[in-house]
Symmetry: C2
Subunit: 454 residues, 2 copies
């Protein structure tokens, strides 16, 4: 129930890909010309290519591997902004953006924060008047909030930002893998930079993340050093991705990310979005009915909850295996799993297989109707309980692992009115079952009664 912090368990194939890399591809990519080094280079290129295809980016060199989304955001922000530059952001950002902006403000960058309504929608009019008021270099927005599940309409925001000639940087850490990128146009024309982590919606291991760099983005590197290329030069190479990838990459992690992405594509991002919305709605509905519970953010709205509730006997479609240790026997278990509500989307193809074959994906997902406008992040408070205490009891007594507090996003809590104690956050993931949702609801019910009686 803490998949927004990091997805768990990892899907079948992630471990295998990491071990394969360690054992048989363990050279230093780009550093030597022997077989292990070439195998390592090849694997990393495959994953880069798969991510590029997943995003709908033509040139895989525009995917820059980082240790996490935070590093990607720091590279994009610190590398692009200079004193006197103006940057706009929103009142629901994660500390990965807000702390970086605070640092940049102390360097003389002009930072302005656009408000977000307590119901969650970005004040687009406010954004437009801020853009109109003064020449702006960059707008940085959170695609999906890690506190309240809110998403923003990237198409609408992008249209506005482009109209005023600014760069758009998207923090996709909580959105990518959970929702398709519903863009009306190629990502290159819509988004200038996109940062994401590999260990959340993309189902890879921790220690992975990336920054997509559009054609008009050219930040200074954060880190300088050996790239295995243009070795004779004292200058950082100017070409991508080497310019930004100094030092030895997390090869085993990137190989695992490739396998995680493969599983995601096998399941289908659209399927995943629908399944997670269904789980979130079921959870929200159950919690709503408990006296003393207050929901915050996207899944507090009854209309949204009702529209995603499983109805007419529909079941939540489960992925092939919950067990990350045992891969599907024949590699096709995903196809044969029961309880499928929606037909397999034709956009969800992949040939990742056993981690040995190339990772190939299909075109990006464009304009698919019926996709939720929120991710499966359900934030709540319970009368009489401190969020931290509630989370502790949920883990101790029921084995339910959730996150309590501010979730590194104080701005979002100020917006929601839940600052400073925060919320208890449930974030079901691909491997969460309807039974587990039921368990959560019963547990909260018991704790609610207990407190009232106590």
């Amino acid at each position: 129930m803490d998949n927004a912090a990091t997805s768990w368990p990892k899907p079948p194939g992630v471990e295998e890909a990491m071990l394969l890399y360690l054992r048989e591809e363990g050279g230093n990519p780009g550093r030597s010309g022997h077989r292990l080094s070439l195998a390592a280079s090849r694997r990393i290129f495959q994953v880069r290519l798969a991510l590029a295809e997943f995003l709908g980016v033509k040139d895989p060199a525009r995917i820059i591997f980082t240790q996490n989304a935070t590093e990607a955001l720091s590279l994009a922000l610190i590398g692009s902004l200079n004193p006197q530059d103006r940057v706009l952001s929103t009142a629901i950002e994660h500390n990965a953006v807000s702390r970086t902006l605070s640092f940049l403000r102390s360097c003389g960058v002009d930072v302005e924060i656009i408000s977000v309504s307590p119901r969650g929608s970005l004040d687009v009019t406010g954004l437009e008047s801020a853009l109109k008021r003064k020449k702006t270099k960059m707008v940085v927005v959170n695609w999906a909030s890690n506190v309240a599940g809110w998403t923003i309409d990237l198409d609408e925001v992008s249209g506005l930002v482009k109209r005023y000639g600014a760069l758009l940087l998207v923090d996709a850490a909580q959105g990518l893998g959970h929702l398709p990128l519903l863009l009306s146009d190629r990502i290159d024309d819509r988004i200038d930079m996109l940062a994401a982590s590999g260990h959340k919606g993309l189902l890879g291991p921790q220690g992975t993340g990336f920054l997509y760099l559009g054609p008009s983005s050219n930040p200074r590197p954060l880190i300088y050093g050996g790239t295995g290329s243009a070795s004779s030069s004292d200058e950082q190479p100017g070409f991508l991705p080497d310019k930004y990838e100094s030092g030895t990459l997390n090869g085993p992690g990137i190989a695992g990310l490739g396998a995680g992405l493969g599983t995601l594509l096998k399941e289908g991002v659209i399927e995943v979005a629908r399944k997670e919305a269904c789980l979130a709605a079921t959870l929200a509905k159950g919690l709503m009915e408990i006296p003393g519970v207050k929901l915050h953010g996207a899944w507090s709205e009854e209309k949204r909850v009702l529209s995603w509730l499983p109805q007419h006997g529909a079941e939540v479609r489960m992925p092939a295996s919950k067990n990350p240790v045992t891969p599907a026997d024949d590699g096709t278990a995903a196809e044969s799993s029961g309880g499928v509500v929606n037909a397999r989307t034709p956009l969800a193809g992949t040939d990742v297989g056993d981690g040995r074959t190339p990772v190939t994906t299909r075109a990006p997902v464009l304009g698919v109707p019926g996709i939720p406008d929120a991710v499966a992040v359900v934030s709540m408070t319970l009368e009489g309980w401190d969020p931290a205490q509630l989370a502790f009891e949920l883990d101790r007594r029921y084995g339910i692992m959730v996150r309590a507090g501010l979730h590194c996003s104080p701005w979002a809590h100020r917006t929601l009115g839940t600052f400073p104690t925060g919320t208890v956050r449930f974030s079901p993931g691909l491997y969460t079952t309807p039974d587990e949702i039921e368990t959560v609801v019963s547990a909260v019910k018991e704790l609610a009664i207990e407190r009232k009686g106590g």
Copy 2:
């Protein structure tokens, strides 16, 4: 034979520790309070503690995890130096230092390079006069050269640097794990910052590295963002290690690094140093006798070679297992392996065990006599062969994996006189056998004859 790029294979236990982390400790460390998150925090703390003990650092919070040594060096250099500051370095630095210094020079930092003799010794008199000439903020030196195996006397350099009130930053990427830190005093009093990678001498997986930060070092972070601590603040927390560890760390990699370090300590750094010196000397002696071969750097000196040649029937002591896949049955195989030349050093204790028990180490290794003054990096050129071509044939025909070219260190090659084609570099490691050394010598012998006849 390319262990200077990345050690391979990884020792038993590394894979197991990574899998254990993924499966049973897979939470997001410091981000939530449930069991998986706490287990992740605990594992990372254990490895931090083990590294601190290994270095002889009291406070484990002074070990900052990074993705690699390059990131650690950029953090130390870019975070500490301002325009007008003066920094001294040497003519054998890796691009991780030299490219970063080039960037800093373009920002107005005053960079001066101290010469290194073609035989390899740092010009200490030159360093002293440079320190005397002008107030210097920092000196950055390569402990062990990745091209020529040269090491510098850290005690001597530190004494000099401290006398002039400058900070000492050590690039220990090629030294740590291969040689003990032979300091006459606590590391805190000798070295202000030390950067190392986890995947070379420390036998961990790629994607790991760290920066040790001494009490007088306080660089600006390179990366800003969520730390799971002091979440309500828009400012980066001021305390260590959080200040420098924004975003989700490479947990599986760090767990693997703990296991790699455990193996290293079980073998004993002193044993490893002696074994690797013995292998390097055997290799250098064999190559020296081949007509057309020219050796460069430390192992080109006959005196050094002779002093490390296995004599009087001595054998190279082999570690427990060459196979990283199969751990020792009873966890004690290291004790029972044959061919031990030197008694187990009492400094080499550890209780890493199966990756589940705490990683504990012993005090740092101080003043042990008979330790080589070079790491096992043997660089050569062969008359009539381009290094790249030679490396290709060694891999294709003999399965010998080496690195050819500049090894990301153009300055070192200018010093050696091997710029711009570079050298063929052999870097035997813990798991290299004497038989493999023999194979290399025969292979080079054949290729030397072939070329002469062609």
